[in-house]
């Protein structure tokens, strides 16, 4: 009987030890949440939305797993799977964050190139307009084109502002529009000058 009691006590001790080990993975959860927040702050949702969503979903799944384990009888409770899932969330967040950084860098380079091209086109249009017949006898078209150019020149600081805000996709769209319009102005000036020469 004494021996049986000993076994029983030992069994209870092991059970309590095991139950004591099955503690909610709070630190891992906090780390995973931070990793996801960092990914968001890095622009994950903007530059790689699909992958970022997957990471967010994986975190939600890990949270669910924790809830599942919370609902279990303490002897059978285990957070090992949740811990694994949270570790995966952290790994994936870091990986996607790295990809975001690369994508962002690429977008930034494209934006800077687009800004440069747009600025060059506006400058070319301005130089052509400066060469065009000036003053009282100048063509009405040239005067109108100067108005057009003013609108384009006003757009250039906006590009810089958008670069400052790291909104590279917006920079590319705007720069492309400015470049197109500036090139059109240049062509119109050339045509106008050609007409004057022809007279």
């Amino acid at each position: 009987m004494k021996k049986l009691s000993k076994y029983f006590a030992c069994g209870l001790l092991v059970m309590f030890i095991l139950a004591g080990c099955a503690k909610q993975p709070t630190d891992e959860m906090n780390a995973a949440q931070k990793a996801l927040e960092d990914l968001k702050a890095a622009g994950g949702e903007k530059y790689i939305p699909e992958e970022s969503k997957k990471v967010a979903d994986a975190l939600a799944a890990a949270q669910e797993e924790i809830k599942t384990q919370d609902g279990k009888f303490f002897i059978t409770r285990s957070y090992d799977k949740a811990k694994q899932m949270l570790a995966q969330v952290i790994t994936d967040s870091e990986k996607v964050k790295g990809e975001v950084a690369a994508k962002k860098e690429e977008a930034k380079n494209n934006a800077l190139a687009a800004q440069e091209a747009a600025t060059a086109s506006v400058k070319e249009a301005a130089a052509l307009l400066a060469k065009a017949p000036m003053g009282k006898g100048s063509r009405a078209d040239i005067e109108a084109l100067k108005g057009d150019l003013k609108g384009l020149e006003d757009g250039l600081p906006e590009l810089q502002q958008l670069i400052g805000q790291e909104d590279y996709l917006a920079v590319i769209d705007k720069a492309k529009a400015i470049q197109e319009k500036a090139d059109a102005v240049s062509n119109q000036v050339k045509e106008a000058m050609q007409k004057v020469k022809g007279k």
Binding site: G71, G137, K150, K181
Partner: protein, 361 residues
């Protein structure tokens, strides 16, 4: 000898009990599978997110996700129950219902996106039409800087909206088109008042009267007179009351407006006379008019008193009909091609009446 017989009798009972126990345990070891609809609903949730349900059907999507989260919580509770007591059927039923809701939301999202897209395309087309009209107007009245600057900004916004449309971002496209619309409106606010003068009945009658008076003078005195029509950008020489020759002209940078003060780039409206013939003009040849006349002076002082023009402003002067080309943009003068100027110069004498009107007849 009795004991072996007795144990033989008890053994089958024990075996049956053990068998029952074992079967219960085994049953317990193979828990019922979670509802298969779960994966489908999860996929639907992803599809809705990808289709931007959070933008195009935000209310419905929120309610969908709330319901889904509740079902998931209940599923967790079911999973936590002892295997014998788990029942996924009610959850399956709810998942099937929410899947159906998801399909409906997805359809709604697609419809709303299509509507947004169609609206954005229609709005873009309307704005482009308005822009084209204003572009022509601004060129007609030589209103360069301000109106055209706004038109350019509108054009840029419309182009940007096009990129958003190509990417399927109809919300972004809509926002840019709204900005484009405000630039177009600003441009309209500049151009419309100038054009509205040309539909003003009293003004049109005044212009008509001036034109008729100079034509009558030409007829009665048998002299040459000139009528300049700003809207038509034409100069007609009348001989003995009949139109003799018409030439295309250029007018001021702000030519369609009436001249109010020096430097406004407007071409004056009124009845004038040629007061000087200049052969050595910077613009080939020139006919100087007696602008400002008495009526112009009175009007200028009246507007100044009313505060409609700055107190320090001057009236301006030296309004001429000169050469230099019909496409020339002047500070308010009337310009002709040099060869046409030669013809007019020959026909005109000092004192020749000139009526400059917005439009007439």
């Amino acid at each position: 000898m009795a004991s072996p017989t007795c144990s033989h009798r008890r053994n089958p009972k024990i075996l049956v009990i053990l068998g029952f126990l074992l079967s219960f345990i085994l049953l317990g070891c193979t828990p019922p599978l979670p509802p298969p609809e779960l994966k489908l609903v999860e996929q639907m949730n992803h599809d809705l997110w990808k289709a931007q349900a959070q933008i195009y059907a935000s209310g419905e999507y929120k309610s969908y996700t709330t319901t889904f989260n509740k079902i998931r919580d209940d599923l967790i509770k079911q999973n936590a129950r002892f295997v014998w007591f788990r029942n996924y059927e009610p959850i399956s039923e709810r998942l099937r219902a929410i899947l159906k809701d998801g399909e409906d939301i997805l359809t709604k999202v697609q419809e709303r996106k299509e509507t947004k897209k169609a609206n954005a395309i229609r709005q873009r087309s309307e704005l482009e039409q308005r822009m084209k009209r204003l572009d022509r107007l601004s060129l007609t009245i030589n209103e360069g800087r301000l109106a055209r600057k706004n038109l350019t900004k509108a054009d840029l916004m419309i182009k940007e909206a096009g990129s958003f449309l190509d990417r399927g971002d109809y919300e972004g496209a809509g926002a840019r088109l709204t900005r484009a619309s405000s630039y177009i409106k600003a441009s309209e606010n500049i151009l419309t008042p100038i054009f509205n003068r040309y539909t003003n009945k009293a003004l049109r009658e005044k212009w008509k009267r001036w034109a008729e008076e100079v034509v009558a003078e030409s007829r009665e005195k048998g002299i040459i007179v000139i009528i300049v029509k700003k809207m038509d950008k034409s100069l007609t020489v009348y001989e003995e009351g009949r139109p003799f020759k018409t030439f295309k002209i250029g007018i001021g940078r702000n030519g369609l407006a009436d001249k109010l003060l020096a430097g406004d780039g407007a071409t004056p409206e009124g009845r004038y006379r040629v007061v000087k013939k200049i052969t050595g003009s910077r613009y080939h040849k020139a006919l100087l008019l007696n602008y400002p006349n008495e009526e112009d002076r009175k009007e200028f002082l009246k507007l100044k008193r009313m505060g409609r023009i700055p107190q320090k402003s001057g009236m301006g002067g030296l309004i001429e009909i000169h050469g230099g080309g019909k496409e020339g943009m002047t500070y308010g003068c009337v310009s002709l091609e040099n060869r046409h100027m030669d013809e007019v110069f020959e026909l005109v004498t000092l004192g020749t009446p000139v009526a400059i009107v917005g439009t007439a007849f």
